[in-house]
């Protein structure tokens, strides 16, 4: 087998050195009756060419060649080949968590740079080395607020990504948390009156997302003020990081939970991505996950180490701030390289192109009879429209024209049947937006 660096003779020599007659002898501690007598029934062995062939065949059964208008937490953005070149360097790809600092300075400095970039983007003081994804980061942010306030009640905007709320509910069930939801207004943003009415001094956190699941941008200040008035933490979730190239950062937040997928990571059918938790410095000792810190070596040189590990499971066991161990380090590295490539101007320009293209797309769609905008709040690269007929039926027509249509909102939001969430990024050419509008118009003209 090509991955195994031993010849049959070497195996015999090593067995002889051990003093074992056969390899089976090394497994003698496994009771005989539990040892497999037959070969595993799995396909293979495949040569490298056959492995590639298998996956190419599967790839051909997917949506390659279609133009997509899906976003909803997973976005298509331009990615430089440089990012992949760097993260495929064996020194990054095939190294472990940097516990041995002296031979892990590359990973550690890159994490430190990642933490810095995340702070700059979010307007927060400290950021961790990554969580699994935006959904678990949001959940961990709520658990952090629970620890910080000692309170159990949490208000979550219904305009937070439905799957993020699902994950929070799964974790909350056994953590003593009580989750209540805040409705959205006719503008698509958090219903501030409903929030006010729900405020009480038993509140641990108020959780909002911006741009929210409908693409609407929230105004942080009044929401933060409301949360702070009762001593609750204001938690902001961000699924579309590119928006921060143009939007004011959630500086009013106590904790920010972000998905970093937009920073150079492909959609990859849902993962792996990278979650981020950023917060005020005074809360750092209640943060989950790894942190890289700057220090000096015994000769006074600058270096980096994993720090504040007494928060973590390998030291604190059942008293840890989280059970997270493996995180999404290589994805965080990809985000670091990607954001470094984009730089200040590149990020701003990418964000501006998203804003311009989404506005162009909305204008094109609104020219179609019967299509109207659902919400009037400002948006970034996603918006919601109401169609005169079922989104699913419309989408089945679009697929025939090699278009993956917008997300139907009826399942997560029964009151928004016939409403669709449209995403347009810098990767969508004008001609494709126009082709989409044309195809949508035709789909709506089809006899029922």
């Amino acid at each position: 087998m090509r991955y195994l660096p031993k010849s049959p003779v070497e195996r015999q020599e090593m067995l002889a050195a051990i003093g074992a007659k056969s390899i089976d002898e090394l497994f003698s501690s496994i009771p005989e009756k539990y040892r497999l007598r037959e070969a595993l029934k799995i396909p293979g062995p495949y040569s490298e060419a056959e492995v590639i062939q298998y996956f190419k065949e599967r790839a051909a059964e997917n949506a390659a060649g279609y133009t997509s208008f899906l976003g909803a937490g997973v976005y298509n953005h331009l990615r430089s080949v440089v990012t992949d070149t760097i993260i495929q360097r064996g020194e990054f790809l095939t190294s472990y968590t940097p516990y041995q600092a002296e031979i892990s300075q590359g990973t550690l400095q890159a994490i430190f740079e990642f933490q810095t970039l995340m702070c700059q983007l979010t307007g927060q003081d400290v950021a961790n080395a990554s969580m699994y994804d935006g959904s678990t980061a949001t959940t961990e942010a709520v658990l952090m607020a629970q620890r910080l306030t000692g309170r159990q009640r949490v208000l979550v905007a219904r305009s937070v990504h439905p799957e993020y709320r699902d994950v929070l509910k799964t974790y909350a069930k056994n953590s003593g948390l009580r989750i209540e939801e805040i409705p959205f207004t006719a503008s698509g943003t958090v219903d501030a009156k409903a929030l006010q009415a729900a405020l009480k001094d038993d509140l641990a956190a108020v959780v909002v997302q911006s741009p929210n699941f409908f693409g609407a941008i929230e105004s942080y200040a009044p929401l933060a003020e409301a949360a702070h008035a009762v001593g609750a933490m204001f938690v902001v979730a961000i699924t579309e990081g590119i928006s921060l190239g143009l939007l004011r950062p959630p500086a009013e937040a106590d904790i920010v939970a972000m998905e970093a997928q937009s920073f150079g990571l492909p959609p990859s059918y849902g993962g792996p991505f990278a979650g981020v938790i950023a917060a005020r410095e005074k809360y750092v000792r209640q943060m989950p996950g790894r942190l890289a810190g700057q220090t000096t070596d015994s000769e006074g040189h600058r270096g980096f180490v994993l720090t504040l590990a007494t928060r973590e499971q390998h030291i604190r066991r059942e008293k840890a701030t989280s059970n997270i161990c493996t995180n999404q380090a290589l994805c965080a590295l990809a985000a670091t390289v990607h954001l470094t490539l984009l730089g200040k101007e590149g990020l701003r320009e990418m964000a501006e192109q998203n804003l311009a293209k989404a506005r162009f797309a909305l204008a094109e769609l609104l020219k179609i009879p019967g299509v109207r905008r659902t919400f009037d709040a400002p948006f970034f690269n996603e918006f919601t429209v109401e169609l005169p007929r079922s989104v699913k039926i419309v989408n089945s027509h679009l697929v025939r024209e090699k278009i993956v249509g917008p997300l139907a909102l009826g399942t997560p939001y029964p009151e928004l049947t016939k409403h669709a969430l449209v995403c347009v990024t810098e990767t969508t050419p004008r001609a494709e937006i126009e082709r989409f509008a044309g195809a949508l118009k035709r789909a709506l003209e089809q006899p029922v």
């Binding site: 090394l26 492995v51 059964e61 701003r348 320009e349 937006i433």
Partner: protein, 503 residues
Amino acid sequence: MNEKIKKASRHTNQNEGLIFEKSSPGKRAFELPPLDVPAAEPAKALGALHRKEGIKGFPEVSEIEVIRHFTRLSTWNHAIDLGMYPLGSCTMKYNPRVNEFVARLEGIATEHPYQPQDLSQGCLKILRLLEKCLLEITGMDAITLQPAAGAQGELTGLLLIRAYLQKQGDPRKKVLIPDSAHGTNPATAVIAGYEVENIKSGAQGQVDVEGLRKLVTEDVAALMITNPSTLGVFEQRLPEIAQILHAKGALLYMDGANMNALTGITRPGDLGVDVMHLNLHKTFSTPHGGGGPGAGPVAMKKILEPFRPVPILVEKENGRLALEPIRPDSIGRVKAFSSNFGVLVRALAYILAYGPGVRQATEDAVLNANYIRKHLEGVYELPYSLPSMHEVVFSDALQKKNGVNTMDIAKRLIDYGFHPYTTAFPLIVPGALMIEPTESESHEECDLFIDAMKSIAEEAATKPEIVKTAPHTTRVRRLDEVGAARKPVLRWKPAAPRSTAAD
């Protein structure tokens, strides 16, 4: 240079500051195609929501500077691609490059989790085949591929147990965890709403079955056990342990971190395990990437199947595959968007490359660990003498006499060109040296490692200072961790005057 250091020699090492320190306004490393629609006026479109001033301190550098920056940083890391990485319980095996290639294919990396399932049959077939392979390898009945890593797999497993017991009327109070377990086990049990009861290992480092019998009451939901244990020893009485638990209505959870010792040889499902997770970034070769991403599928017996996290992958009558979002008894979602799909692709590529021959990988892993044990026994103290599987745990008891501890030996190993083994774990071995070579090491590399360990033992006896002050050849010396934690500096901030770029 010490002539005994055969594997490593001197090497130029470039200095490199933080990327923020190289930044200069107006430099760019990325250009977008021109905008082909009318530009939006952000100030007008966004009003008060607009970040007019841009992001303060964000880097502005050119492409060559980005390449050099991260390439220089990379040269400061040790990696499997450079040599043996014998971190016990981490299974640092070769990460096949074809896995990276297939995970990046157009039609794989490009797919959106919300695209129509009719246009996702390729992705779903990959998931289905991986499910089948992992079920065959573990001997279990059902599986979820959703958890993002081992610790999340543990949580999923305990939530399954909780939901199952709840359905019978009482989720129970306690989870039993041996004192040799990974830290994630107790941390996870608490998130699942359980009290942790730590149980002491027996004289040979295994679960004390007679003691366990007394501890398993109607309050106990489960025992979480790692097999082979963190000592690298197979829990021979596991079927009996399962019976003890089952007799009281409790379940057996197996931490599959050490599955590299069992794959193709024996199956946890046959041993009485009710639920377990796998670390695909260990046993199934997906790269650790400096700390992640991983994937932690959870395999289970039929009784737990109704509680699996949604969405559930199902085969329709017409042969099509579908993800179903609703199951009345499901524990819910543990992660958005189905799974760390790209990691699952890599794991399946690994399994297909071996096929049933994956047994050979297990055999070689166990052969390497025993070969190293044979040669280092006596040179280092072996606190528990039961047969080793895929890893061997020594202690620093002999070297302690000269004031040299496991961390010193580990740091000295760096000078010899090796990544250290796992130190200070498991907790039941004071001063542990936990060595897991994996199947990826040749006879020659194992010999070099043995020579290095013997040489360090000799140094510890004759000139302990050189060991205690190691490493001597790295770009930084031992770092001040206490200072780092006391006054944490967790991000770069612009300094005035501007700080120098090099160290």
